[in-house]
C-alpha cells in the first residue's frame, strides 16, 4: 500500500488525497506537523498527483505549513497540480509565495 507520508533525506513528501477539503486537511496538518517538528525536515513537498478537488481549507493548510516551515528554516513546494488545482492555487494568490511545479523538479533530489 502506498504511503501518504514519505521522508527522503530532509524532505517530507505528502501525497495529497483525491479531495483536499477541511475534512482531509485536518488529518494531513496534524500528521505533517508531527513529522516535520520531530525530524530535521527542510523541504515539505505537497504532491497533488492524485488530487482532483481543493477548496480554501486546502489553501489554509498549505499556508499554515508554509509558515511553519519558514519558521523552522525550511520551505514548501507543490508538485503535479492539475488544471483545476492550479486554478485554485492561482485564485488564492498562494502561488506567489509557494513554488508550484508541473512535474517533480530535479533539484529536489527525489
Amino acid at each position: 500500500m502506498e504511503q501518504l507520508f514519505t521522508i527522503s533525506g530532509t524532505t517530507l513528501i505528502i501525497r495529497l488525497p483525491a479531495e483536499l477539503d477541511h475534512h482531509s486537511s485536518e488529518k494531513i496538518r496534524l500528521e505533517a506537523d508531527r513529522l516535520a517538528t520531530g525530524r530535521n525536515i527542510r523541504w515539505m513537498l505537497f504532491d497533488f498527483g492524485q488530487t482532483v478537488f481543493m477548496d480554501s481549507s486546502g489553501i489554509g493548510m498549505l499556508i499554515g505549513r508554509y509558515k511553519m516551515m519558514r519558521f523552522l528554516g525550511g520551505n514548501v513546494a507543490a508538485v503535479r497540480a492539475n488544471e483545476q488545482i492550479q486554478r485554485v492555487l492561482t485564485l488564492s494568490g498562494i502561488d506567489k509565495v509557494i513554488d508550484v511545479y508541473e512535474g517533480i523538479p530535479q533539484q529536489l533530489n527525489l
Binding site: E19, D21, H22, H23, S25, E26, R29, F53, D55, S56, S57, I59, G60, M61, I63, G64, Q84, V88, L91, S92
Partner: protein, 167 residues
Amino acid sequence: MNQGERTMQQNEMKLEFDSRSCNEGFARVAVAAFMTQLNPTLEEVADVKTAVSEAVTNAIIHGYEGRVKKVEIFCRIEQETLFVEVRDEGKGIPDVELAMQPMYTTKAECDRAGMGFAFMEAFMDALEVESAPGRGTCVRMRKHIRHDTEQFPGYLDTETAKNMAER
C-alpha cells in the same frame, strides 16, 4: 413525456445532514449530481462543488463550532440557472460585510485562510449572505450554466444527454 422533460423549467431538492466534516464531500457530490441535468462542463461542476464546500465547511466549523447539528442545502434549477442555499442555525455573523472581506477569518489558529466567501464569489455568479448573531446563517448563491449543445461531459448520463442533443 420526453416533451415534458425537455421543456421542464424547474426542479428542486433539499438536503439536511449532520454537521460532521465527513459529510462535506457528500454534500458536494449531491449538489453536483443534482446539477448534471443542466449538462454542465467539468469546470462548472468544479466551481459549484468548491462553492458548496466553502459554505458547508463554514456552517460546520464557524456556525456550529464542532457541535453536531443540522446543515441544510436547498437547490433549485430554473431554466438554465442553478440556485443553491446553505443554511445553519449556528452562532451567526455579527458583521457580514467584514466577514466577507478576503483574508478575514476569526479562526486563524485553525489554519483558516479567510478565503471562503471570496471563493464563493469567484466561482458563482452571485452571492448573498444573511445572518444574525445567535440565529444562524444563510448563504444564497446562483450560477448560470451556459447551454452549449456541443459539449456533454461524462457524468451520470452522457448517452441520454447526447441523445437529446441529437434530436
